[in-house]
């Protein structure tokens, strides 16, 4: 059922933008139905006294991930808060958000809010630690979208980024903690982790818990990460009310509450939870008493209260847990009510500055009732739920087990002081929002220029929603005895301290006892603080502390920018030789040092072989000589031919080693490369244009020799260190049984490692497209190519018709269609004739290679290049006209369909329930031909074949006929220029 509810939230989030377009602002009310329905279902569950509701769906079996949900008391309370407040806030939005305003999309706002409610619901109900982390990060990302709602405001997006960096950073730390805890305990089920905590394994678990808490601390904006929360007030007020009062910041509190029953007696826990909680409570409180902006006042108040909640829920006694849960409930009610009150005030007057607000209480009395009730609950005044919680908390804290001179004693003291501050800023809120007392005197030292205000009366919804939330706090106060029975299902599980804390009960009247007296003193001191210090219409100057978390954060970010700039500036000098030289130097230095100093297993003398055969030595000498000569060559063509010689030599070395497939492909590729090189080199100067100084040449040569030596030595060491047998030991058998082919290399390519081949096809496709774009550059050029293709197709059709008339007498001019357009001086009759003779034969050979490649040397790669060579021949015989006549399609068609076929052959087995790319084979008997062995991986190889032909066609069309056309155009325009010139 929870899964269905989560799905409903997701669906609502997806349809929210279109719903918003159709219904306008009312769409928010429709969206509110989803969390409302969830709340209703939760209410039916809360009644049941039986075992906790559980449900589980396997998710990623191999990772042990499952979507497990468990509803115990803590989950129900938090889920209730999240859904009820979420529904009310969406309702509030329907009257608050102006759809016509610029700067943000309401559809996104609605969708993100509903999605956020769903993510929070999942977070507080899931029983799987990894799923909890996933939900946790979903809330982080959605909060980024919500805080940065005003996309036109630079400060808003910056605040969103700041919140994202802090909370996501904490989230990553938490993930590490999650993994540590899960792995040491052997389970990721939260209920099992908490019920049976592994605390004996020493520092590892402490680290895990500490990292987990770091996530909670950043999310709940505890010191020193509190600064993102006031910054995030750039969000629309309902968002602040939800994220920063009821939901997101409660995620950290929830985490503390959830794990308190398992880990609260760890030292790291005590220090982080009590220390940071108490510090946050005081710091936030002091800041809150100084704010002029009502929303910032609430923001700092929230920081303070979050510190308090973490302190109580992580304290580790039953009483503190009960008080903490009560205050958590109270806080969600009063803080969202207060935020929504501020939203209504802002909506009505256009300002939240207490110096500008006038007559709000008089004009909106019900709003004043709501705001005052909520503030009273925040201050802990009697009969409200806040009072009940505060009393319970005082009872739990005032008798610290380890005496006052301990962490618990300090926490109790901070709690009392924090309550005094809470009283003071609650008063400041009511005084600033609803009375005119905060107006600075005219002509005074801090006089503020009056603004002409427009009163825009808040409607029933804008007042009603905060009022409902505030009244809920009023009703729950007297009803707290009944509430206790609901909450003790959680608090009973938390008993970690060796000495049990005092017994705590909820209720309005426990007699005149110490907590009551302390409360009275808190009210008096808080009132005094307000009267003396906080009752000022001006911003109370904050003494600039030397350590300011916000500035430290910005300094850190700036330092990161700085580091990036320095590193980039140092390494990226902009010169390609220098960059490559750096890389080669590292290649020499790192493995080189290891070779010299490390403990290496050098091959013994009997482990060395001079050569396998005499032929190998001969070829090797040839390759070495040509490589050295190529390095010294000053003419381009000479270098190209020498490099080609090394390529052919390498091919023969492959063949001698027993790799006929490699040799075949290498020879074909070398031939094609040579053709392509010559096609481009005809445009370039005959000599290499660079003329480095003798020193540069020597340095380069030195580096080259060093690289060669290091690579050679590394090869010796690596080969001598090999202890394992080849991975392909039983591949021969498997390739026949499973891959249905005898050529193991081909079976590897089209079956075992077919995914890699697919990736390679994509690279080839990208390269081919890049070549075409670099040559044709503009769409007009492509249009010319397409027009040429259409002409070629027309010619072919005409030729067919012509052939039938002329009874098969095919003239060379017909056969090589473009020949007439060529300059007779540039024709080669011999080439034309030879092309006529061999073109179809070569194509046939390529098809043969393709079909037989599964059992003999060949395959899609080699076959594709052979077909490409045939095309090369046609191109050389008759230039672009011939190429178009030979294969009148765009290369992109071949590339695209090739990749499509390869991918399709991967997918088809999946339709039959097999793994992707599974190979089947069948024997077919075809009359005349005989028995044919059909293998499904042939389909994949056909894809490879087409892609390679596409590459070849693209290269010939771009670097061949594309450049031809450019030369022709230049030749036409050159005489014209000469005439114009002087």
């Amino acid at each position: 059922m929870i899964l269905a509810l989560l799905g409903a939230h997701l669906a609502a989030a997806v349809v929210a933008p279109s719903l918003m377009r159709a219904l306008g602002g009312r769409a928010f009310a429709v969206l509110a139905l989803v969390p409302a329905a969830s709340a209703a279902w939760l209410a039916t569950q809360a009644g049941g006294r039986g075992a906790a509701h559980e449900e589980s769906v396997a998710w990623v079996r191999d990772l042990g991930l499952s979507l497990t949900f468990r509803l115990d008391t803590l989950s129900i309370v938090l889920a209730f808060v999240v859904t009820v407040v979420g529904a009310l806030i969406l309702l509030y939005c329907s009257r608050y958000v102006d759809l016509g305003s610029t700067g943000g999309s309401p559809g996104l706002l609605g969708g993100a809010l509903v999605g956020f409610a769903g993510a929070m619901l999942g977070l507080v109900t899931t029983d799987d630690l990894l799923a909890l982390y996933v939900f946790w990060e979903i809330t982080t990302v959605l909060s980024y979208l919500l805080v940065g709602y005003l996309t036109t405001s630079a400060a808003s997006t910056r605040a969103a980024r700041q919140a994202l960096v802090v909370t996501a950073g904490g989230g990553l730390a938490m993930l590490v903690g999650v993994v540590i805890l899960g792995e040491t305990a052997g389970t990721y089920r939260i209920s099992e982790l908490v019920a049976d905590p592994v605390t004996s394994t020493g520092p590892l678990v402490a680290w895990g818990v500490g990292l987990l808490l770091l996530g909670a601390v950043t999310k709940s904006a505890l010191v020193p990460f509190h600064f993102w929360l006031p910054g995030a007030m750039a969000a629309p007020t309902p968002v602040s009310a939800y994220l920063h009062a009821a939901a997101m910041v409660k995620a950290g509190v929830y985490l503390v509450a959830r794990f308190a029953s398992g880990y609260a007696d760890l030292t790291v826990w005590q220090v982080m939870v009590l220390g940071l909680g108490a510090g946050t409570m005081l710091l936030g409180g002091i800041r809150a008493t100084r704010q002029l902006d009502l929303k910032l006042l609430l923001a700092y108040g929230t920081v303070s209260q979050l510190g308090m909640l973490v302190l109580l829920l992580g304290y580790g006694t039953e009483g503190a847990a009960l008080a903490g849960l009560t205050l958590l409930l109270a806080h969600a009610l009063f803080k969202s009510a207060l935020f929504l009150t501020v939203g209504a005030i802002d909506h009505a007057t256009g300002t939240r500055d207490i110096r500008h607000l006038r007559g709000v209480g008089r004009r909106a009395p019900w709003l004043m009732v709501a705001g005052t009730l909520a503030a009273a609950s925040m201050a802990g005044l009697p009969v409200l739920l806040g009072f009940v919680g505060k009393e319970a908390a005082l009872t739990a804290l005032l008798t610290p087990a380890a005496g006052w001179a301990s962490l618990q004693g300090a926490a109790a003291l901070s709690f009392v002081l924090g309550s005094v501050l809470t009283m003071a800023y609650s008063l400041r809120f009511v005084w600033g929002a609803f009375t005119d007392g905060a107006r600075p005197p005219a002509g005074g030292p801090v006089s503020v220029a009056p603004r002409a205000h427009v009163w825009h009366a808040p409607g029933a919804v804008l007042v009603g929603v905060p009022l409902a939330l505030a009244v809920a706090g009023l009703v729950l106060g007297p009803a707290s005895v009944r509430l206790e029975r609901g909450l003790e299902g959680y608090s009973a599980t938390v008993q970690q301290m060796s000495a049990p804390g005092p017994e705590v009960h909820l209720g309005l009247w426990h007699g005149v006892n110490a907590p009551l007296l302390v409360s009275v003193a808190v009210w008096a001191l808080g009132g005094l603080w307000f009267w003396v210090q906080a009752r000022r219409p001006a911003e109370v100057p904050i003494p600039l502390s030397p350590v300011d978390a916000a500035r430290a954060y910005h300094g850190l970010m700036r330092g990161l920018d700085r580091l990036a700039l320095e590193t980039t500036g140092f390494l990226q000098r902009g010169s390609l030789p220098v960059l490559l030289g750096t890389i080669f130097t590292v290649l020499v230095l790192l493995p080189g040092t290891q070779l010299l100093l490390g403990q290496n297993r050098w091959p013994r003398v009997d482990g060395l072989r001079l050569a396998d055969s005499a032929a190998q030595v001969a070829v090797a000498a040839l390759v070495v000589a040509s490589a050295v000569l190529a390095a010294r060559a000053r003419r381009r063509l000479r270098a190209a031919f020498l490099v080609a010689v090394t390529g052919y030599g390498t091919a023969i070395l492959f063949l001698l080693h027993g790799a006929p497939d490699l040799a075949l492909t290498q020879i074909l590729v070398e031939t094609v490369s040579l053709v392509v090189l010559v096609l481009v080199l005809r445009r370039l100067s005959g000599r290499f244009p660079d003329d480095p100084s003798a020193l540069t040449r020597r340095l380069r040569a030195l580096l080259g020799v060093a690289v060669g030596v290091v690579v050679g030595a590394t090869t010796l060491v690596v080969s001598a260190s090999r202890v394992h047998p080849p991975a392909a030991a039983d591949l021969a058998e498997r390739s026949v049984d499973y891959g249905a082919g005898r050529n193991i290399v081909n079976v590897i390519l089209v079956d075992v490692r077919a995914w890699d081949t697919m990736g390679e096809l994509s690279v080839v496709l990208a390269c081919a497209t890049g070549v075409a774009s670099l040559v044709f550059l503009r769409e007009e050029a492509m249009d010319r190519v397409r027009a040429g293709l259409r002409t070629a197709r027309g010619d072919r059709a005409g030729m067919r018709a012509g052939t039938s008339e002329t009874t098969g007498a095919i003239l060379p001019s017909r056969r090589i269609t473009g020949i007439l357009a060529l300059d007779p001086e540039r024709r080669s009759v011999i080439l034309e004739v030879v092309t006529r003779l061999v073109f179809h034969t070569i194509l046939l050979w390529s098809v043969y290679l393709l079909l037989s490649g599964h059992n003999q040397p060949g395959g899609g790669f080699a076959a594709g290049i052979v077909a490409g060579l045939a095309l090369c021949l046609r191109y050389l015989g008759g230039r672009g006209y011939e190429l178009r006549a030979a294969l009148p399609v765009m290369p992109a068609v071949l590339l695209g369909s090739g990749l499509f076929i390869a991918a399709g052959s991967a997918v088809i087995p999946m339709l039959f329930g097999s793994p992707a790319l599974r190979t089947w084979d069948a024997y077919l008997t075809i009359p005349l031909v005989g028995e044919v062995h059909l293998v499904t991986s042939l389909l994949f190889d056909i894809g490879v074949y087409l892609v390679v032909i596409g590459l070849m066609l693209d290269v010939l069309r771009s670097l061949g006929s594309g450049i031809d056309a450019q030369i022709a155009r230049e030749r036409e325009s050159a005489p014209a220029e000469a005439e114009v010139g002087p």
Partner: protein
């Protein structure tokens, strides 16, 4: 495993001369270096695959040990990628020739600019930490105004000018 010295020597020479050519400013020369290096690295795979043997085709050999097919499959892929890369770099060189009448790789001005900024410790026009914090604080005050409209018929505050 015994190591074939001849092949190791060939591979080292190919990689070394390739590195030498790679460091050139001429794009075509660097491409030559890339091709030499590519051949050398492919040979390294073959050396690492162990001793020579009969072709890895079931039933084709003379019964002797078969050469390891897995590195061969890797190298086969590399060869075809090299062809595609060759074509791409040549197209780049051609484009360079079109623009500058030679295929020399000029220094990247953008990198030089970043380098100059790093030398001058200039982080650009991004506001400082203090300004950013203040800007965010100021924005929170302004933020609401954009979210909701004002009705035109709403009455003007009569107390507006008395303060």
């Amino acid at each position: 495993m015994s190591v074939n010295l001849t092949l190791t020597l060939v591979a080292s020479v190919l990689v070394g001369t390739g590195a030498y050519l790679f460091l050139s400013r001429s794009l075509v020369r660097a491409l030559m270096g890339f091709l030499l290096m590519g051949n050398g690295v492919n040979l390294l795979f073959i050396i690492g695959s162990g001793p020579a043997g009969s072709p890895p085709i079931v039933g084709a050999g003379d019964g002797g040990p078969m050469a390891d097919p897995v590195p061969q499959a890797l190298v086969l892929t590399a060869i075809v990628i090299t062809l595609a890369m060759t074509a791409f770099v040549l197209a780049l060189a051609h484009r360079g020739w079109q623009v500058g009448r030679d295929d020399l790789v000029a220094d990247d001005t953008e990198s030089a600019r970043i380098h100059a900024r790093a030398e001058a410790d200039d982080l650009g026009s991004e506001p400082g930490a203090r300004e950013q914090a203040e800007e965010i604080a100021a924005e929170t005050e302004r933020s609401e105004r954009g979210h909701h409209g004002r009705r035109d018929d709403a009455a003007t505050d009569e107390e507006g000018g008395t303060a």
